[in-house]
Amino acid sequence: MSYQTTIGGKVCRFDDLKTLLAKASPFRTGDALAGLCAESYEERVAAQIALADVSLKVFLTELVIPYESDEVTRLIVDNHNVAAFSLISHLTVGELRDWLLMDETTTSTVKSIEAGLTPEMVAAVSKIMRNQDLIAVAKKCEVVTKFRNTIGLKGHFATRLQPNHPTDDPKGVAASIIEGLLYGSGDACIGINPATDSPSHVMSLLRMIDQLRQQFDIPIQSCVLSHITTTLELINKNKEAPVDLCFQSIGGSELTNTSFGISLALIEEAYLATLSLNRGTIGENVMYFETGQGSALSANAHHGVDQQTCEARAYAIARKFKPLLVNSVVGFIGPEYLYDGKQIIRAALEDHFCAKLLGLPMGVDVCYTNHAEADQDDMDNLMTLLGVAGCNFIMGIPGSDDIMLNYQSTSFHDALYLRKVLGLKAAPEFEAWLTKQGIVDAKGQLTSTNQVDLYNHFGSLWIK
């Protein structure tokens, strides 16, 4: 089906829905690289005007990637909730935007349509929204998940403590963990990107964190971000394996996931295996997914669909498995997909908005590489915007410099800044632990005198 609008007597035509979505996307280098973006400023706005008039029902019949050839499409179509959709089925994309922004549309009304929305509908409405719209609507959403603590409550803001080390040296990793905990970081999880994917390596890191957690009775969860097959193998070999969370990167098309070496069936198998360990104390959200715009194009698996729509499609996979955490590693992919601070910030706000609207516990790795036109000031802007938008978590990395993955993200200090200026608190169980340990005072502020004592308490017991 083709779409069109008339601008000053000139008819602008778009051959199909995926073309319309791509041309309506705010400019980013990845869509230009794929040859999908609008040819002019006018064509982009014309596409947005045409898109605003498309009925949401169209998204259920005109599929951007065919049902027969893509299991992500099948998941989206087969899991669509008609009853929830009936509340909004009479709306166009433009009317959905207006409805989402209405004062009468509250946290609970947004929640009630969640299962009726498809990723493509959500991507479409994001394309006609300004940054402030993305923030205002995301802030209405509350997505709460639990394992050993509670993440995503309004007024709270968590961090994944990311203590990476170039050779996975346990003492090097431990040093960053201790420092992070003493800076109040780690409530989302302690999550290590391993330098190598060997099962024994992964197991020794998991054991180390588990020992620390039990010794100091910390209400947190850990994750080593190895390939899902490695995690599955660890669980299958040892039912006592200290695997709290099962990690995997996911993309928005079957081909993208094939390039990652995964399928929906494999994720399902790993999900059930991780659940069977029964390690959560207050909840059963055991999955941790990472995503990021550009992965489908990078795998040459985008089917002519723009990178933001591909990204939103990945969220359909995430929501099937009730994850504890999802995050978009937004600026990691490089300038050929997101060129500069402006594009990275826009993409992060889109990802956070789309995921929240689809009911996901979304965090963002606020980050950039050294060949992107971005710096720490852009990250300050983005993390502040995300804090306002009610983002569930960001990363906590020593001095924001990841010495293993060689990119820059957010520091332990950054999270404290955000909690302070926006009056946000850590996850309640973790906050209580920090207070009990004397790491923060009754007001949640880092105590100034205790760090040396605390270091001795932790370090002497554990690192030497």
């Binding site: 170039p166 040296d169 090097g172 990793v173 050929e336 050294n370 010495i403 270091y455």
Partner: protein, 254 residues
């Protein structure tokens, strides 16, 4: 009003003892909840070095002068990426050769064993600082093994896969591209070496072997050259490169 308190945050912070275990930026202290001035500026300086490296240019005159000692001709080529901005946004153009460069290479075609290609990649300064040292260690190994070397090619705005086209046009059996790696905050001078047997356009990464982090403080020139030479010998013996070419002597990798 009293003078403001000059509260010097302990620049190294109370967590300093942890620093012996990792190069991560721990123990940097805090002022309020923010990073102290000295540490904040140190980070900015590291980023500035990385940014300068991304925008650095190959010092081709100086490098060519130094290469004369190896008695090999030098050819200067350019990819289809016109400038750095285009290079960063269009990796596909960095993998292709400009038409004039294609014509240049045709004049030099002959049956070579090895084509050495030097490209700026994401850090020309890595090449400017370290490639001569690496060639010093590497070329004598090739000479001793009586391998026939093609002219040394420089490529401006080049990506790894540009080596396929170059070596193919020169009719070389094997290509080695030495390329500036993406700068990190701790180092902006790393060279990566990618080796491809039977190079021709259309190959992908699984056809190559890579040795990375070549720099004096990373993988030094001599062991780097030995690893490359080992791989070259194995590639000629097995007539392949990439995933099928394994590290049987524990020489590849960390």
């Amino acid at each position: 009003m009293d003078k403001v308190i000059k509260d010097m945050p302990n620049a190294d912070g109370p967590l300093n003892p942890l620093k012996e275990f990792t190069a991560a930026r721990i123990g940097i202290g805090r002022t309020g909840t923010s990073i102290p001035t000295k540490q904040s500026l140190a980070f900015k300086l590291a980023h500035a070095h990385a940014r300068d490296a991304v925008y650095s240019r190959l010092s081709i005159d100086l490098l060519s002068e130094n290469i004369k000692q190896f008695n090999l001709p030098v050819i200067v080529l350019h990819s289809k990426a016109g400038d750095r901005a285009e290079y960063l946004q269009r990796p596909d153009l960095g993998r292709k050769l400009k038409k004039s460069s294609v014509n240049q290479l045709k004049e030099h075609a002959s049956d070579y064993d090895v084509s050495i290609i030097i490209a700026d990649g994401l850090s020309a300064s890595a090449i400017n600082e370290n490639v001569i040292g690496l060639l010093h260690a590497l070329i004598p190994l090739f000479m001793a093994a009586k391998l026939k070397l093609a002219p040394i090619c420089f490529v401006e705005q080049g990506r790894v896969a540009v080596s396929d086209k170059i070596a193919h046009l020169l009719s070389a059996k094997l290509s080695i591209i030495l390329i500036g790696e993406r700068p990190g905050l701790s180092s902006a001078d790393s060279i990566g070496a990618y080796l491809t047997y039977d190079p021709k356009p259309g190959l992908t990464d699984e056809s190559r072997n890579c040795i990375s982090n070549i720099r004096p403080q990373g993988l030094p020139f001599k062991p780097a050259a030995e690893k490359i030479f080992y791989l070259v010998q194995e590639a000629f013996r097995m007539r392949l490169s990439g995933v099928g070419l394994k590290d049987n002597q524990g020489l590849i990798g960390h």
